[in-house]
């Protein structure tokens, strides 16, 4: 076991690049295999179809990234996506005119769910894994109770535009899906957000919330906003998924773990404080590319989880080997007390 000799900002940034680099290499490899299997994959329309399918996961990963980087989890996003799709179907019920008001209502509902998650976690000090597990159960039960077990109603065509259609007549690629545009805009927005004072505060909070609080960060507000961001991202993902795939009772099931997998695959360390937006997006694309590859290889769909599990472990093990040499369970939430310093020589 190698021990850290010292931890400089340089080492930290190289660890970051290591994580992003790993997932970029992995994504390239998977794309290469796909290209060998199916050379027409990169010919525009198939690639755009892939983008359309991957966009919701990218959006979810962006939201989950905000929460994970602040040192928390959001397990409620899968349930929230399911709940939002069912709510949309029930309230729109095929009526074009109510599309926009219902979308507004969904965003409001997402805002409230995120606020509840965030406030319970920060003000009541409930561990976020329990908070969001609770909201997951509550959303799951409440929506099914409301609709009597099975989703009712129908989505309008106007609602499905975002997930299903795009800007036609674009040269080379044919159709530019709105889903891709939305995901790209949100990605750029997230990158800019992380460079803003808020993003820096969020990163500092995730790395060490005590130190961040001493430096003047309003830790509770920053974390709560991260949860709100995640819930809003889940709402956008619900609009995309609802448009793309339609309404079923199973919509959103297990998406929280896929989103966390995507973010962690991108090298964003659980426990917070490290990782880039781009890495999270690459992680989401990698997971989706992997699913596409499995389909192309005609693997039985039942074997997908096994391969997914193996690849997650391998990728994270590889990333933590190259980059972060720190023991993972090191108490990251506790500030390093000045008295710890004399211990350093014994670590070498």
């Amino acid at each position: 076991m190698t021990r850290p000799t010292r931890l400089s900002p340089g080492a930290l940034s190289s660890a970051l690049r290591g994580g992003t680099g790993t997932v970029a290499v992995l994504l390239t490899l998977i794309f290469l295999v796909i290209a060998v299997q199916n050379p027409s994959f990169f010919e525009g329309p198939p690639l755009m179809a892939f983008a359309k399918k991957a966009a919701p996961l990218v959006v979810l990963a962006l939201g989950q990234y905000l929460v994970i980087v602040s040192g928390e989890f959001d397990l409620s996003v899968g349930s929230l996506v399911g709940a939002q799709v069912v709510i949309a179907a029930r309230l729109i019920d095929g009526d074009e005119a109510s599309t926009l008001p219902v979308i507004g209502l969904m965003l409001l509902f997402g805002l409230v769910v995120g606020l509840v998650n965030g406030l319970i976690t920060t003000v009541l000090r409930v561990p976020s894994i329990i908070t969001t597990l609770g909201t997951m159960l509550i959303l799951f039960g409440a929506v099914r109770y409301w609709t009597g077990g099975a989703p009712t109603g129908a989505l309008s065509e106007g609602f499905r535009v975002f997930g299903r259609h795009g800007l036609d007549g674009v040269p080379v690629i044919g159709q530019l899906p709105w889903a891709l545009v939305i995901a790209a805009v949100l990605t750029v927005g997230a990158v800019l957000l992380m460079r803003s004072p808020y993003g820096r505060s969020l990163m500092a909070t995730g790395d060490n919330d005590t130190a961040a609080a001493f430096s003047g960060v309003r830790v509770r507000r920053v974390r709560t906003l991260a949860f709100v961001g995640s819930s809003l991202a889940a709402t956008v993902a619900a609009i995309l998924i609802g448009g793309f795939a339609g309404v079923t009772a199973q919509v959103g099931q297990g998406l929280e773990f896929t989103a966390i997998t995507a973010v962690v695959l991108g090298g964003v360390v659980l426990g917070g404080g490290r990782g880039s937006v781009i890495a999270a997006v690459l992680g989401a694309l990698t997971v989706e590319a992997l699913f596409t590859l499995f389909n192309q290889l005609y693997l039985p769909s039942t074997i997908q989880p096994a391969a997914q599990g193996l690849i997650i472990i391998a990728a994270v093990a590889y990333a933590s080997r190259r980059g972060d040499r720190r023991p993972p369970r090191h108490a990251r939430r506790r500030p390093v007390h000045p008295n710890d310093r004399p211990l350093d020589p014994s670590r070498r």
């Binding site: 908070t131 989880p305 096994a306 599990g309 472990i313 993972p328 108490a331």
Partner: protein, 357 residues
């Protein structure tokens, strides 16, 4: 299980932890029985009590193992899948033959221990986050089960089905086994060197390492024991069904076990808590389920209530604990000598403070 009389100071020390959880359990029982009485029936009928204990036994096995893992600042999301795999292994190995019961139990627990060993080694040696590790092994097992088996397989001999189905009075045999295992786990955590090391590593693995503990060993041990208790839960499920069933993993046992552990006052970030609290957490959840069943609450409303109650309980509990810890730091660098340890009866609550040792 009633807490034995102990010195007042000790009682106050623990008031924020395990005592509060048992008070909550008593509260849930009282409020639940009031609700049921309001509906004109009775909560503590023989059938309901058996139902309560039966629910408690399965969750209890899973939660005991999960407690050990969480104490070491790790997590195990694979227990539901390990339990599903264990039902298949035990049913197929036993194949309805009473003489193969021991072989079946051995094979099941051995395989479970092996999975735990893999989890532990990946977490400690490859330094993969436990969340990802156990999610990954869980998905691996799920993929194997779904590809290899299309439905129930194997068969459990009638002799072994007594483990899941028979009972003494209102106490199912499985609950007695589970409570015995809980007592063993409490003794393990309070009396053995490995138990102390688990608290130390969970509290701060770097400090534990500097004190001469190899931090990997307790974590690996906890993972092995956790998978083995999941294996026992699988044996119990198999003996109830009479056959192996892969769909067990759909029941969300891992999250329920974590909820029970956290409800029982074990700190999710490791180093504080214990199995006695977990038992109270398990029976709180079991009581809720039984009460909801007796009141014939809509299953979807049941989910809503369960989620709200878990959050509320942990919130109330977190308040009490936070007040205490802010007053008294865990690792004091000097000051008063540690209080003499109280005489711990086997069923007493474990003290979760590293500062005592």
């Amino acid at each position: 299980m009633t807490p034995s009389p102990s010195p007042l100071r000790d009682l106050l020390d623990r008031a924020g932890t395990t005592g509060a959880v048992y008070a909550a359990l008593a509260g849930v029982l009282v409020i639940g029985s009031l609700f049921v009485a309001f509906q004109g029936s009775h909560l503590f009928t023989a059938a309901n009590t058996v139902d309560l204990f039966t629910r408690g036994s399965l969750l209890g096995f899973l939660a005991i193992g999960q407690t050990l893992v969480i104490l070491c600042r790790s997590l195990d999301l694979s227990v539901g899948y390990v339990a599903a795999l264990s039902t298949m292994v035990s049913a197929i190995v036993m194949a309805g033959d009473p003489s193969r019961i021991v072989l079946g139990i051995g094979a099941t627990l051995g395989l479970a221990a092996l999975i735990g060993l893999v989890n532990g080694l990946v977490v400690t040696r490859l330094r993969v986050n436990p969340f990802i590790t156990t999610l990954g092994t869980g998905l691996l097992i799920k993929g194997y089960l779904d590809t290899r088996f299309q439905g129930p397989a194997g068969s459990i001999p009638a002799e072994f089905q007594t483990f899941g189905l028979s009972r003494i009075g209102v106490l199912p045999v499985s609950t007695l086994v589970m409570l015995a295992l809980a007592v063993l786990a409490i003794l393990f955590l309070r009396r053995t060197r490995m138990g102390f090391h688990m608290y130390a590593v969970g509290g701060d693995s770097e400090v534990a390492r500097l004190s001469g503990i190899r931090p990997e060993i307790p974590v690996i041990t906890a993972h092995v024991l956790c998978s083995m208790t999941a294996g026992i839960a699988g044996l119990l499920l198999a003996s109830r069904f009479g056959t192996g069933n892969t769909l067990v993993y759909n029941n969300g046992y891992e999250l329920e076990a974590i909820a029970a552990v956290v409800l029982g006052g074990t700190y999710l970030l490791g180093g504080r808590g214990g199995v006695a609290g977990t038992m109270a957490g398990v029976f709180i959840l079991a009581t809720l389920d039984t009460v909801f069943n007796t009141l014939s609450v809509d299953p979807f409303v049941k989910d809503v209530l369960r989620g709200a109650i878990v959050i509320a309980a942990v919130a109330v509990y977190a308040r009490g604990r936070h007040g205490r810890t802010s007053v008294r730091p865990r690792f004091t660098s000097g000051g008063a000598p540690p209080a003499p340890p109280p005489p711990p009866p086997p069923t007493a609550t474990p003290s979760a403070r590293g500062g005592d040792r």
